[in-house]
Subunit: 357 residues, 2 copies
């Protein structure tokens, strides 16, 4: 029986709708297992800019630092996407949060619930049994290097950077995880062209010496983008840089049937942050149709990783599994065979999961 302080940071778009459901699931778990979870909320992204002028107000950051874990939604707004010259952007809040909290490891498990075999655009016989654990570096690379304009604004530049220790610490986390799984690690880079990738490969090769029991391969990012679809089962743990991880994990969401199913954990020096990998999805915001399962599964990761509550975490995952087995779907994971009365909105899907906890 533990007492924990959880910060809910819904952010933008469907972030609001899905974290509301994630929170209910945490509440139900606290009740069932006799824990005391207290909650606070904080602003980030577009909603924070509207309210305070800043995409990550100091108050939000302070609250994050003082919480035991953060359940996060999403940031982003089409207004800024279509205005490349905007100086203040929702995403700056997300990047600042990652940097300030030292969240250097973004963990994205890609695992297909058996019931969703049909929901993917990839053939079931290619997918069956696929189970990949991504480690995406989250506080370096072209995301955080100097960027700007020169030649009167006619030339834009971005600097990608990695230091040895940054690669080392994420590599160690990935190798450690591989040890608890199928003992295979694939490190993804573009070492045939990019210098940061050559440093990346050098360091991973060196760290690998400490893990002789783990089988290591190095793949180029272009080949990996192809292999993930051609033969997803060949991968166990994948470790890669920030930008490549961004691209490859979105792609890999198709292995899990839908982006609406994928949770992630961002961990590092302090408070851990748990979030769906889907974004703010303004096209479906406010319609009550967003899939809350990624936020619910993010809550499961939170329980497991930040609180060490394995049984609680498994209870959540099993509840999701049962709901899927009972045939319930949100629109994104429904297929031609799903009866109309089994297609649920955000809140109703949340209720089904709660019933099974």
């Amino acid at each position: 029986m533990a007492t924990k302080q959880i910060l809910i940071v819904p952010g933008d778009g469907i972030g609001q709708e899905v974290t509301a459901v994630g929170k209910k699931v945490l509440d139900k778990i606290a009740e069932k297992f006799g824990h005391t979870f207290t909650y606070d909320e904080a602003l980030i992204g577009h909603v924070a800019i509207e309210a305070t002028g800043s995409p990550l107000p100091d108050e939000s950051l302070e609250k994050m630092r003082n919480s035991d874990a953060v359940l996060f939604g999403a940031v982003g707004h089409p207004k800024y996407d279509n205005d490349p010259s905007a100086k203040v952007r929702p995403e700056q809040g997300l990047l600042k949060m990652r940097k300030e909290l030292g969240l250097y490891a973004n963990i994205r498990p890609i695992k297909l619930f058996d019931e969703l075999l049909g929901a993917s655009s990839i053939k079931p016989e290619i997918l069956k049994g696929a189970d990949i654990l991504f480690f995406r570096e989250l506080t370096g690379d072209i995301y955080f290097g100097e960027k700007g304009r020169k030649n009167n604004g006619d030339t834009a530049y971005d600097i990608a950077e990695y230091s040895r220790f940054e690669v080392e610490r994420i590599a160690r986390k990935a190798f450690d995880a591989a040890r608890t799984r199928r003992k295979k690690l694939c490190s993804v880079d573009k070492a045939n062209v990019i210098e940061t990738s050559r440093l990346w490969r050098e360091v991973v090769q060196k760290v690998a010496l400490e893990y002789p029991d783990v089988e290591v391969e190095h793949q180029f990012v272009d080949a990996t983008a192809m292999l993930l679809i051609k033969d997803p089962r060949r991968f166990d743990v994948v470790v890669t840089a920030n930008l490549f991880g961004d691209i490859l994990t979105d792609e890999a969401s198709q292995i899990a049937g839908s982006m609406g199913m994928l949770a992630s954990a961002s961990i590092g020096d302090g408070t851990g942050v748990y979030e769906p990998i889907h974004g703010s999805a303004h096209d479906i915001t406010g319609k009550g149709v967003a899939n809350p399962l990624a936020s619910i599964l993010s809550a499961a990761l939170l329980l497991d990783i930040s609180f060490g509550m394995k049984a609680e975490s498994e209870t959540v995952i099993n509840a999701v599994d049962k709901v899927l087995k009972a045939g319930f779907r949100t629109g994104d994971i429904a297929d031609a065979n799903t009866p109309a009365d089994k297609i649920l909105g955000t809140a109703a899907m949340g209720e089904e999961v709660l019933k099974n906890i």
Copy 2:
């Protein structure tokens, strides 16, 4: 009846085997249509390093400049991949060729031959009718910016750069192509994080004003990596930066059943270069099993784009189609239903295509 000088640049690995077949196809076309094609050969990549110390000897570059078109194979060798500190690398030859010849537009058509619907890991009902034309910028971005080490080698950096005119010229090529197709253009960037992407989006938005008849959308690269698999038919022309194009076109090869089917044209200020998008594939080099169809289809692109020979180009494509219809396959595009006697090696597959020209 034309006279043309074609340079064959096999490069490394299976590049040798597949360009030999591509050349035979060009020969047969010349014979059938009464053209005179003369050939020369040049070195690039690992084989060039072994022979001359340079991945692109001046002599090769000179020959390229003096040819009417280049049929290119691939570069790369595992020796360098596993040695991140190597100073001279095969890929430098490829990049230098692209830069020196001003090959700023890499055109990669992704189209599934009907007969290969079953060969992809993606479901046939998702794929049927997919037809995407990629324009990948090829002489800018992180590929060509300054790169190096600092802090005693402990930090690596790469500078990504784009200037307005570089984005403009590739965007125009893509919009022009969209006009001759389904009039849809998707520009892919990461403008929510990267400054070069913001310049990219700004310029594409501006060029779009000149093409009011073309429907434009802007997508983030992570979302695109997902959408290509989820719903490939939503794309017509896609235009993107060098690195994103590298990753997305390899991924998109799965839409065409296999990387072994995909040809590309690199064009710009001078001689055009035509090459498969597959690489040197050292795992199958020398075994005589490489799929030559990408090199054959590259020859078809060469005839069309560099020589303006539409009928000749279509003759090649139709021959490939007939061979596939007759049930012949190389290993990479065979499936469980392919009878063993229809699975051909590189040379035999080439012969079947020749018979149909």
